[in-house]
Amino acid sequence: MRWWWWIPLLLFAGFLGVAAYQLTQPKDDLVPSAMVGKPLPEFELPPAAEGTSGVSTADLKGGKPRLLNVWASWCLPCIAEAPQLERLKQEGVEIVGIAIRDRPEDVAAFLARHGNPYARIGADDLSQVQLAIGSSGVPETFVIDGEGVIRYQHIGDIRAEHVPLLLEKLREAGK
């Protein structure tokens, strides 16, 4: 038998090895936004609850970097993230909220119970702005620089260990 007859079998074994290795790897469920590095699309959202203001692209431009937090009162991880948003607010960060498919009374109840770190909250009833910025779930948090360009995306709830990273990204965006 000639040695090169083994090549197809070796190739197949190599393929099996790659497949077996991939099976042991945790599944990556995150869908990163392709909008990072691009300017925010134009939008204008009405206020999500009484006593807050709506959000337009102009509110996210000018002067300093801000956080854009995509959330909802029906979203459980958003409750877990509320204290971290409060911490970021105390660090002097302006947080703009977008509430997805939410009722004004539910938003108000959530804020009364878990605190209100938001400078303003827009209501995105049809997920139109969520789709326009490439967000695929709640909660997600975007760092927006003073020019209105998306600089960083955090997928999932913000935990205590993520706060320094977000502050660092905000500082970078402010340069």
Binding site: V31, M35, R101
Partner: protein, 139 residues
């Protein structure tokens, strides 16, 4: 069990099933999430596009197949844009600009995917060459 009682219970069970365990929204679905477009030709265009767009929260379903709230909002967006006269491929491009190739099930030849198209052709050519040599030898 009497027939009306059985029917009543079945209805009750279906009622329970209609309530998702963890609600993904507190609002009713978007207007065009479950409603077809009035123009059958446009609805067919929208349907064909929706079958090739990935539901981002469920990931293994198309937005045409998924009952996730976000898939409903994506269907609403696709239908209203097609009703407004936008080309299906323009809508696909708009979504790919936001979510990458991942959002589309329609295969494209790109820098990362060209081997998938090239390797079968190479294998076929190789097999053809071997066969041709063998057959020539036999004759």
């Amino acid at each position: 069990m009497t027939v009306p009682a059985f029917a009543g219970m079945t209805l009750f069970l279906f009622g329970l099933m209609a309530q998702p365990l963890t609600a993904q929204q507190s609002l009713p679905p978007a207007p065009y999430a479950y409603r077809q477009l009035e123009d059958p030709a446009k609805e067919a265009e929208a349907q064909a596009l929706m079958e090739t767009l990935r539901c981002l929260t469920c990931q293994s379903q198309s937005i045409a197949d998924s009952d996730a709230a976000m898939a409903g909002d994506m269907r609403h967006q696709v239908r209203t844009r097609i009703a407004a006269g936008e080309e299906p491929e323009a809508i696909r491009t708009w979504l790919v600009e936001r979510y990458g190739d991942y959002v589309s099930y329609a295969p494209v030849v790109s820098e990362a995917t060209w081997p998938l198209f090239a390797i079968p052709l190479l294998l076929l050519a190789g097999a053809g060459a071997i066969l041709w040599r063998r057959l020539r030898r036999v004759r």
